[in-house]
């Protein structure tokens, strides 16, 4: 065997916890690996453990948001706005098909109730974890609707859109509670995802407030409040 083949063979023996009795040449190497596994770990001093933790968290708390974090948030907001603009452009071009038109319906449109009904249909038969994911998606739809209404300057329809957003946030939390009651082991990661999405939604809504009239700002503030997770 060449070196590479021997390296692969040794790796396989290590993975299989072999002692190498069947292959004498590897026994010394397997013994050395076993000895390394048993090598005493250096103990971390209790005072260092405690004090370093305090210093690290103290310094972390005093640091302003890094450039990369700010850029990441702005990128997310730009992505959402571009998506909203793309939908708006498609509506103006008049190229949407009937189903797509329903999906693009906004609060105040005649066919908007159909869109909400279609969302409700998707929830039928969904298990608790799927319900959480669906409600998260619908909450995201509500946020997109708010953005599009603002782009179209349909400020009179924003209150209905915000009411829908707040209702979907509440339904998302209800779905999470249902998931927890169902005994699912993975509730916590869903909670983290929901809160991450809501934090991002709050950031988007806060940015939108800079572009709307005063009364619409007050309405958007209600949506921001619903998004807050702290």
């Amino acid at each position: 065997m060449n070196e590479r083949e021997e390296a692969v063979r040794l790796a396989r023996l290590l993975d299989e916890n072999e002692t190498g009795e069947a292959e004498e040449g590897f026994s010394p190497l397997l013994e050395a690996a076993a000895a390394l596994r048993e090598l005493p770990r250096p103990a971390v001093g209790a005072e260092f453990r405690r004090e370093a933790r305090r210093r690290i968290l103290q310094q972390a708390g005093s640091r302003p948001r890094s450039q990369n974090e700010r850029l990441a948030v702005l990128r997310l907001q730009l992505t959402r706005l571009l998506a909203a603009t793309a939908v708006f452009a498609a509506l103006l071009a008049g190229v949407a098909l009937a189903s797509a038109a329903t999906q693009s319906a906004l609060p105040g449109d005649l066919i908007y109730p159909i869109k909400l009904s279609l969302e409700d249909v998707q929830l039928v038969g969904a298990d608790p974890s799927e319900q959480v994911l669906l409600e998260m998606r619908f909450t995201s739809n509500r946020l997109t609707e708010i953005q599009i209404l603002i782009v179209q300057e349909r400020y009179a329809d924003v209150p209905a859109a915000v009411a829908g957003f707040r209702a979907n946030v509440a339904r998302t939390y209800d779905a999470l509670a249902q998931l927890a009651r169902s005994g699912a082991a993975a509730t916590y990661p869903f909670l983290v995802r929901v809160e991450t999405d809501l934090d991002e939604s709050a950031a988007v809504l806060e940015q939108l407030m800079a572009f709307v009239p005063g009364e619409t700002q007050r309405v958007l503030a209600l949506a921001v409040e619903a998004s807050r997770t702290d």
Binding site: L10, A35, P189
Partner: protein
Amino acid sequence: MPSVPPGNAEQALVAQAIRGDHTAFGALYDLYLDAIYGFVYYQVSNVQEAEDLTEIVFLKAFEKLPEFRGAKKMENFRAWLYRIARNQVIDFYRTRKPSANLDPDLALPAHDPPPEDLVQLGESTRDLRLALGRLEGLHRQVLLLRFMGELSYSETAAALGLTENYVRVLQYRALRRLRALLAGDEEKEP
């Protein structure tokens, strides 16, 4: 030392830490402090320096969390943390020998552990500790990550910026070299 939670729970902690949740980052510190300290200590063999470097590792990890989120290749938080630790050790030795025009991994010198480290060890463990100190940097790192850190081949490769195949070859060479040192046959080269 707290046990490492299964994958989803750790990802949840990392996600929260990225959002600026200090409690979550504190939990990650608690989970990985011993492992990172051990990795650093076995390369610098000095308690004070190991503590300083370990603290810097976690400070840098918090600072660089947004980069971790964006990195598609480095999806394993543990491997990413070890990568930071490795870079800190390399920088430490570069600082001590600024004129050395060495490959960053060769810049990690072979060294004997301090006597107080060896006093209470059994003879075979003492010999192993000495032999480990005499390996060249990259060999030592591969063995520390694979057998003390219990990283997989892919995690070790990610931590060292290498391919998995090369990690297997380095592991083979490192164990052969270690075995030769333990046998007192330092003429043998892998």
